[in-house]
Symmetry: C2
Subunit: 131 residues, 2 copies
DNA sequence: CCATTATATTGATGATGTTCAATATAATGG
DNA sequence: CCATTATATTGAACATCATCAATATAATGG
């Protein structure tokens, strides 16, 4: 079977507008061309919540770790990598879950976590427009 | 002109890996394959600090705004887009500056901010490995 | 040097985040 | 049903964050 484990997505990206030639380098007044927001507040809220979840070194390391073990990393695997209590790891995993960045499924007594590729994709796409 | 201001991107998305057939559905012990951290703590600290700076809707909107006005957006331009006090905007800009995501240069009485493309690139690259 | 203006800093207040010990929950195997 | 084990939740202590009013700083133009 071709393209196993992959799918293709086509999307539209707005490019940054070029600075117009008549923009004064040192104008005698400011705010001549007030830019308007193109990132709506509700979108910004959701994306910022995901960035916020990545905004802690331990959580970033957890996600990086999970990204290399699709569905095979249980909580105790994660726990083993850090000098943090079990409740603290559980707390960080909850934050990542609630942001939609990871998902969990229970198999027997263990809970296995994996990265949600759609969520990462959204962030990646946004950064792509900011580069 | 067709597709003005837009470009099309085709990209590949990795779907979650299926659990291999030889993975025990209910193994009698866990952590058989302890993964090790590949993202060093000092790197994680720096990257997480940048993600954290993006982890607020207003700051995300500020960066998005700046990305479309390379070196032409002064603080008052930014201020005009939000219902927040001038000190609050200044505070958010400081956080973005200290994370290395934006830089400022003064021209006359005004201070113009622009996105630091190297910083965005770093985050983009990391997310690229997590997809 | 004085007045004006844009931006930054300070200090305060209320909200949110991080961590752990203790405890609860839920699955498993006798 | 009981003991064991993995994970989650609770509650508390302490740290950090977001916001604004007030004030400081620094550039400019008289």
């Amino acid at each position: 079977m071709a393209n196993q484990g992959k799918r293709f997505v086509q999307l539209t990206v707005t490019t940054p507008q070029p600075i117009p030639d008549d923009a004064q380098p040192t104008p005698d007044r400011c705010c001549a061309m007030p830019p308007s927001l193109r990132l709506p507040t509700n979108e910004a809220d959701e994306l910022a919540a995901m960035f916020k979840a990545l905004g802690h070194p331990v959580r970033l390391q957890i996600v990086e770790l999970l990204s290399r073990f699709g569905g095979q990393a249980c909580v105790c695997d994660v726990e083993a990598q850090f000098s943090l209590s079990q409740p603290t790891i559980s707390h960080h995993l909850k934050i990542l879950r609630e942001a939609g960045l990871v998902a969990a499924d229970q198999r027997g007594l263990w809970v296995y976590y994996h990265v949600n590729p759609t969520a990462v994709e959204q962030l990646w796409l946004l950064l792509d427009t900011l580069r």
